[in-house]
């Protein structure tokens, strides 16, 4: 028992030592997905330090509350996430176990980008028999750059709230970014004009916002239901459908299993387009500008 008591004392001492630690000069940001990390970097510049919880090669639905994430959540001043239950399988654990009051739901330190955009595919009926659906709507909002612009306005305000001393700095960065962003969107839209009406097959329903933006027509999904991997039966049905109703490409995210789209591509004689999906998903997608530039280019290449 004595050993336990002395160890307990040790724990308390260690805890007290931490109280005395001075606060950090920069805002520590834990970004749930890389696109939000990239956006926070655009707005925060050198006033923020960013750690991305996931990378482009991970299925954002299936992430684990790893010890490394708990450690980062512990010292985060701000979580920047998609929301809409995209992170429901792991983020609640970080909030409960990291011992960090700032990042709890409802606090300024928890930012959900999905609250600033118009959600698509909000289900009228919520039933798991329909697959992995999200009651708040399709959470893959980052495939439309206009949503990045909307989230940017919200995030700039939130950064100012979390770090009031630098409020003007964030607002200034936002103004610069918003101007560059509008110009870039206009440019992409011009380039992407030939994509309007392009029929595509997608692996996962991950691109509804992209389709809405560029006017792509999604005619089939490789997954029989959201989150359910393609089956041989379903792929054959999609192939049969393509013979009557042709598509120009089969589109998947870099993290999707390649086999389904490869199978269909060989038989339907249409190219596979692997989209970066988020920052870091391809060599060109080094930042947000590269992400959409590369997305548009890859789709255009499939039309040739």
């Amino acid at each position: 028992m004595l050993s336990i008591k002395s160890l307990l004392t040790g724990v308390m001492c260690a805890a007290l030592a931490v109280f005395a630690t001075p606060s950090f000069a920069v805002v520590n940001i834990l970004a749930c997905e890389p696109e939000w990390g990239a956006l926070a970097q655009e707005l925060g510049g050198d006033k923020v330090s960013i750690y991305n919880a996931t990378n482009a090669f991970q299925d954002p639905h299936r992430v684990q509350a790893k010890p490394s994430l708990l450690a980062r959540a512990r010292s985060a001043d701000l979580l920047v996430c998609t929301g809409a239950q995209l992170e429901i399988g792991w983020l609640p654990i970080l909030q409960q176990q990291a011992g960090n009051a700032k990042i709890q739901s409802g606090q300024p330190g928890y930012f959900e980008a999905s609250q600033f955009v118009r959600m698509l595919e909000v289900p009228a009926r919520v039933d798991r028999a329909l697959g992995d659906i999200h009651p708040g709507g399709n959470p893959h909002i980052q495939t439309d750059p206009r949503n990045i612009g909307l989230a940017a306005a919200g995030l700039a305000k939130r950064l100012a709230e979390v770090d009031p001393a630098n409020a003007a700095f964030y607002q200034g960065n936002y103004k610069t970014f918003a101007a560059r962003w509008s110009a870039a969107i206009a440019n992409w839209e011009r380039e992407a004009a030939p994509l309007k009406g392009m029929a595509i097959v997608v692996h996962h329903k991950a691109f509804v916002y992209l389709e809405n933006w560029l006017g792509l027509r999604e005619i089939a999904t490789l997954e029989p239901k959201p989150g359910v991997e393609p089956t041989a039966v379903h792929l054959s049905e999609v192939l049969a459908q393509l013979q009557r109703q042709p598509a120009r490409a089969v589109v998947r995210s870099v993290y999707n299993d390649a086999r389904g789209s490869q199978w269909l591509s060989e038989r339907a004689k249409i190219p596979v387009v692997v989209l970066p999906f988020t920052v870091g998903g391809s060599e060109q997608a080094k930042d947000l500008f590269g992400l959409y530039g590369d997305t548009v280019n890859k789709l255009l290449a499939a039309l040739k």
Binding site: M1, I4, L7, L8, V11, A14, A15, V18, T21, T54, N55, F57, Q58, D59, R62, Q64, A65, K66, P67, S68, L70, A71, R72, R74, S75, I88, G89, W90, P92, I93, Q95, Q96, Q97, A98, G99, N100, A101, Q104, S105, Q115, F116, V117, R118, M119, R128, G131, D132, D144, R146, L150, G197, N212, G227, V228, E229, Q241, R244, Q245, Y255, D257
Partner: protein, 457 residues
């Protein structure tokens, strides 16, 4: 026997999988397909016609109108629909449904772990069951209490219609400096396996060492403080004091704490594809008249009781691999724990003869789980115990001190069609009881419905 049971299980599996397909006759399918085809063709014609009309209309519209309309579709963020009504604050509710079929080559009535006598209640919990049985039905309710606290409860409804409160605790959400205080009944933070709920286990049963030293899992009524360090490498230290009613402790009528625990965990990533966690824990309980049945040297069943101190050390480690961190297609998990228990005190033999008691015993398990394709995982687990040094003092002549190393090996295959359902087949060779080899086959389902659970690492 094993072979036959396997065949039965395999045939049952195949039958279940084939059932929906078999229900349709071949002719019906052809008719349905033709009808479906006709429907598709007719709709596609109509859709094509509509698309042509749409394209025409679009061409006629001016570019300015299109741009304006587009801007409107995205700029307007819809007003958030505010939930109204008295039930808007309803907590998250989740339900775990589980069922099991067990085929054992030995009668489990005589089940024991040689050298590790358990009191009746924990023994009943760890004893395998034959035939069909309902698994543990778990009802979980959780929500934030207010701006300061979070609360959660987990009822476990057992197949014999008894209900137990597995966990019921409140926890702070706003303490500073990485501290979290928890109070109520909770799974102790010791080790790795101890905090995992049954529906997240990788095998049908708990590791043998957990069964022998903790009667499965250790939950405690008490208070727990955790502290997470503000470092890039995960470091967590925790301490608990509590009632200690659960084995290896015992219910006691005393002020103060009957069980205390301290634990430390560290963890992190190595590159993008590897992550790990390791830890060291100590659980100290003070059982008072902990009673169990044993076989005496003369071969009769005797009832013994122990009062004294019980200390359990646990070293745990887990390493996970997933290519580029994407666990969806393939991943691997290696997990192992070493447990060592030291008990000192007084033992009363057959409710009559007092004597001293000192024992140092240990055990370990090592398991690997490999997901080789989406939804399919295979796992292998090896369990070993060492009866170690046991001294019954004055009762050495009355009680057996077997020099036996109980062992068990298990192989499992599970199919996880979604995050919410799992069907598992497990084979095990159980040599817990000296001189007995029990070949076990289990077929199990585990499903969860309701609120989407978030799982620990």
């Amino acid at each position: 026997m094993l072979k036959k049971s396997f065949m039965v299980a395999a045939v049952a599996c195949v039958a279940i999988l084939l059932l929906p397909q078999a229900a349709f006759a071949a002719d019906d399918i052809t008719t349905l397909r033709q009808e479906l085809q006709r429907l598709r063709d007719s709709y596609e014609q109509r859709i094509t016609a509509l698309e042509q009309r749409l394209a025409q209309a679009e061409r006629q519209a001016t570019a300015a109108v299109v741009v304006a309309a587009k801007a409107e579709t995205i700029a307007a963020v819809p007003p958030q629909s505010a939930p109204t009504g008295a039930n808007a604050f309803n907590p998250n509710i989740s339900l775990i449904l589980s069922g099991l079929y067990g085929n054992l080559s030995r009668n489990p009535a005589a089940y024991q772990i040689t050298g590790f006598p358990l009191p009746n209640d924990p023994l009943a919990d760890v004893r395998p069951r034959r035939g069909f049985s309902l698994g543990e039905t778990e009802l979980g309710i959780s929500a934030n209490v207010d701006q300061l606290f979070y609360g959660a409860m987990n009822f476990s409804i057992h197949p014999d219609n008894t209900v137990s409160t597995e966990e019921a605790f409140v926890q702070t959400t706003t303490l500073p400096a990485g501290l979290t205080l928890k109070a109520g009944r909770y799974f102790s933070g010791i080790g790795y396996f101890n905090e995992q709920h049954a529906h997240t286990w990788d095998f049908v049963d708990a590791p043998l060492a957990y069964q022998a030293f903790l009667g499965g899992q250790f939950n405690n009524d008490g208070v727990q403080m955790r502290w997470v360090a503000a470092t890039d490498t995960f470091l967590e230290i925790g301490a608990e004091v509590g009632r200690g009613a659960h084995y290896p402790g015992s219910g006691r009528n005393k002020n103060g704490s009957g069980a205390s625990a301290i634990f430390a965990h560290a963890g992190g990533d190595v590159g993008m594809s590897h992550s790990w966690r390791g830890g060291l824990s100590l659980l100290a309980t003070a059982p008072q008249d902990r009673q169990w049945n044993d076989i005496g040297t003369v071969g009769t069943t005797v009832s013994n009781s122990f009062t004294g101190s019980s200390k359990l050390w646990i070293a745990d480690g887990v390493w996970k691999w997933a290519p580029m961190g994407n666990a969806h297609i393939t991943h691997f998990k290696l997990q192992g724990e070493y447990l060592r228990r030291i008990e000192n005190g007084n033992l009363v033999f057959n409710d009559a003869l007092p004597g001293s008691y000192a024992a140092t015993q240990s055990g370990w398990y090592l398991q690997g789980i490999y997901q080789f394709a989406p939804y399919w995982r295979v796992g292998l687990r090896s369990d070993r115990l060492a009866t170690g040094a046991v001294d019954y003092g004055a009762n050495n002549a009355n009680l057996l001190r077997p020099g036996y190393a109980p062992a068990r090996n298990a192989l499992m295959l599970d199919y996880n069609p979604s995050e919410f359902s799992r069907i598992r087949l497990q084979f095990a060779q159980d040599k817990s009881l000296q001189g007995v080899t029990d070949n076990q086959v289990f077929l199990q389902y585990q499903m969860s419905l309701g609120a989407h659970g978030a799982h620990k690492f």
